[in-house]
């Protein structure tokens, strides 16, 4: 076995061991991840139709606006969305998918 393969095997074993040791928290985190990934997918799909404000997104995906804002803030932080000017009223920023995310 090459050293790289050995290292890979050791890493996999360590991760399996960790998942066992932290069984309860891992299970909760996995559920959270599943829910988060599906929410993000829905939001991203809505944004492929063009820039949206937080209330517009909230309406499009049927989610409370404050929750949408939390996701948008995280997506902006990690480069998935960017601002795209304001809506007609001038009260809300619009968000679009970044080129990388699109």
């Amino acid at each position: 076995m090459t050293t790289t393969m050995e290292a890979k095997k050791k890493r996999t074993e360590m991760l399996v061991e960790m998942r066992k040791e932290h069984r309860d928290t891992v299970q909760k985190a996995q559920e959270l991840l599943k829910a988060q990934q599906s929410t993000r997918k829905v939001l991203e799909r809505a944004l492929t139709g063009g820039p949206h404000s937080v209330p517009q997104l909230a309406q499009a995906v049927n989610m409370p606006a404050h929750e949408v804002l939390w996701h948008v803030a995280g997506m902006k932080k990690y480069g998935i969305v960017a601002e795209a000017g304001t809506d007609e009223s001038g009260d809300y920023y619009l968000y679009r998918l970044t080129k990388e995310a699109a």
Binding site: L15, H22, V26, K28, A29, L33, V54, L69, Y92
Partner: protein
Amino acid sequence: MPTEHIKVDALVVGGGIAGMQTALDLGDQGYQVALVERQSSIGGKMIDLSKVFPTLDCCSCITTPKMSATAHHDNINLLTYSEIESINRNGNGFTVQVTKKPRYVREDDCTGCRSCELVCPLEVSEDEHEFGRTSHRIVYVPFSTAVPQKAVVDIDNCIFCGKCIQACPSDAIDFTQQPEPVEIETRSIVLATGFETTPIDAKKEYGAGKLRNVISGMMMERLLAPTGPYGRVLRPSDGKMPASIAYVQCAGSRDQTLGVTYCSRVCCMYAIKQAMLLSGALPLAEITIYYMDIRTFGKGYEQFYQNAKAMGVEFLKGKVARITEDADQNPIVRVELIDEFGKTRVTERQHDLVVLSVGLLPGGNPQAKFGVPVGEDGFIQVPDYNVFPAVTSQPGIFVTGTALGPMDIVDSIMMAGAAASATASYLESSNGSGKEAQSQPERSVEYA
């Protein structure tokens, strides 16, 4: 796990501005210093502020160089993400047991490149600095100017997918890390444990933390900071740019019902500062400050207040009785206004966003943890505040910054100087050894 041993002249507990400045002042004089900070970065509350009154200088621009100087000082041994477990008197000095919490990232190897963070698949609320208004990944560098600039893993939310391990160019991730015991032998201790703010849910009349568009002064600092959760001032319920913002003064200070009878000293000034910054960030917004009396005690502070008035900030004397919200989550403030002749009138006013000018409360539990007496207000009490403001009744234990009581940054820095000089004179005189590895004539001084 073998115990690491550190021998120093002074242990500074808390890495806010007061602790950092004390450590720097002592380190510059040649004393060996250990600085223990419980959070993953030094900087304290100051690194979270937007700009500072009364100069409106960028807070990060002032704090970051201090953080860096502290971390790179030859005479300062910095222990972040570390908790003091016990302090025992040992002859003229102290033996202090500290636990370094595991970051699950080897500090020596991590370069802070964030490659791990960018591939991590899950996000959770960022509560430590951003009040849950945005997220961080499970492995993350706490903030862009964190010192040390090292990642930390939120192990309780990790799924152990291993993506971070694969992405890390320095092979720094280590899920097998355990808490590390450190024993510090020190001849003196400086407590710089700082303050907390009144919890947002402390007053049920002000919505008990349930109204989304009623936020704390500290959260407004984050909204005003370019590094904040939205990078802009938006209201939390729906991301609207607020057109009408109100401040409620003394929301947690001078309030018998909360058992906080003192004035927190900084709230009037930070509300005025934020109002001025908001006038710049949202030029069309109307800003109202509901106050009972405005306290502008420091150098240049009264002029700062007058400038805010001249900029159009509305100052209304009155007592806010209640805050509720309408169907669109706009806060409704019920206030008893007092006119210049002392006549009162009760009215209700609607705003887009309300900021509670929350007060300063003692941080941690210094009495239990460090055996120093506290006053009725819960802050550390010293026997002779007028003459030796930094000297506690425990020989060899000193105090600085807001651990002593509410104060602003200028006063915290001055108190740091006072604490460093009191500590230095104690070290030179108490048991004769003076600076480490350097013998000094024995002198004895009573601190009691």
